[in-house]
């Protein structure tokens, strides 16, 4: 058995050849080593966090967009916001039940005197029942009753979360609350922003 490569008399012996081959393999392996940080796993986690954040923010009734049309009043109350109930939003320009617009509102001067206006009432300007809001609440009440029955809660009345602008006049507020009461909404949660002192 020859110790050199066959057919090449000047060749190195096979052990020498193997040693050189191993060295070359090691050198080549070192050259191709991944020398950057693999952040793919971290980015996977961040993607999950992003999706979770966006979903939880979107679904929470506690997340109220603050803008010129809707700015919540400030209060020193420290209780946790209730998330049970149909959300009724009263901005400067409109009333919404859930995400659905129910009514456009007139200017503040008119709101302070006659509320949403005689044409939107059941029986003239002195009435405090808003017909369009009442119709929307009836539909919401039907859905909420079924939800409450399915959850095993008291379905005799529903709850409402009132998200109203801080400048809303008392007249409008009363009209909304009264209309809610007439449609079997027996408990209201008026949403406010927490503050440290009573604003002037």
């Amino acid at each position: 058995m020859s110790s050199t490569t066959p057919g090449s008399p000047a060749s190195a012996p096979i052990p020498k050849f193997k040693a050189e081959l191993r060295k070359a393999v090691r050198r080549n392996a070192a050259e191709h080593e991944v020398n950057f940080l693999n952040i793919t796993a971290m980015l996977d986690i961040m993607t999950i966090i992003l999706v979770f954040l966006l979903k939880s923010l979107g679904e929470s009734s506690a997340s109220v967009p603050q803008n010129d049309d809707l700015r919540l009043p400030k209060s020193i109350v420290q209780s946790q916001p209730s998330e049970e109930g149909v959300v009724v939003t009263v901005s400067k320009s409109q009333i919404l039940v859930g995400d659905k617009k129910v009514l456009d509102l007139p200017g503040r001067e008119s709101l302070a005197q006659t509320g949403v206006g005689a044409q939107e009432k059941r029986s003239g300007p002195n009435d405090v029942y808003i017909v369009k809001l009442g119709n929307a609440l009836q539909a919401a009440r039907k859905t909420d009753r079924r939800v409450r029955e399915a959850k095993g809660l008291d379905a005799s009345t529903s709850e409402a979360i009132i998200v109203a602008d801080a400048t809303s006049p008392y007249r409008l507020l009363i009209e909304v609350l009264f209309t809610l009461g007439q449609n079997e909404f027996g408990k209201y949660h008026m949403m406010v922003m927490q503050g440290k002192e009573i604003p002037r």
Binding site: T47, L177, H189, V192
Partner: protein, 188 residues
């Protein structure tokens, strides 16, 4: 001797051939989707979302449907009840209780605005002090936690909330609860 230990050209070529990186065949290339650019975008969005979220802490004030003309939802209150009602008017707070209208300065029964505005602004400290004084006027009122609010039609919602806040706890003794439950009256 020297010649026998060095590698021949053929041996060196063979070593080069054996250690050369394997070429990826076209069918092996692109077998896995490169999602790193997508993840880069997601990371940027995540940072942007976290930086722009306005951290606002919300709370809720619980109440019941408004009543008209003294009727409506009301808890069982004994006959010796305070029946506190705050009427928010343009000049201040008019207060009605079991003994009738509260006189200016919260000094006793009498006509007028119980808590007039001070410096053109509603005086919530004086309202709080008056509420505390009225509640402690009789031991019968100790368990009464509900009061009524009514206001001029143009009174803004913030003022209503501030009145509710002003009557929640005694400002001088925070451990003393005054009126935690509020009910609204329809203005006539």
């Amino acid at each position: 001797m020297e010649q026998s230990t060095s590698l021949s050209a053929a041996q060196r070529a063979k070593i080069r051939r054996l250690v050369a990186p394997r070429e990826i065949s076209p069918d092996e290339e692109g077998g896995e989707l490169n999602i790193i650019p997508f993840l880069d975008i997601i990371t940027n969005i995540l940072i942007f979302v976290l930086a722009t979220i306005a951290v606002t802490f919300t709370a809720t004030i619980n109440t019941t449907p408004p009543s008209s003309g003294g009727k409506g939802v009301r808890k069982d209150i004994q006959s010796m009840a305070l029946n506190l009602t705050i009427l928010i008017v343009n000049d201040g707070f008019s207060i009605k209780a079991a003994g009738g209208n509260v006189a200016p300065g919260c000094t006793g029964p009498g006509v007028g605005i119980a808590i007039p505005k001070r410096g053109g602004q509603y005086d919530y400290e004086a309202l709080n002090a008056c509420g505390s004084k009225l509640k402690s006027a009789s031991p019968d009122f100790a368990d009464e936690n509900q009061f009524y609010v009514t206001a001029n039609p143009g009174t803004d919602y913030q003022t209503i909330v501030s009145v509710i806040d002003a009557l929640r706890v005694d400002m001088r003794d925070k451990s003393k609860t005054l009126f935690t439950d509020v009910a609204f009256k329809v203005p006539l």
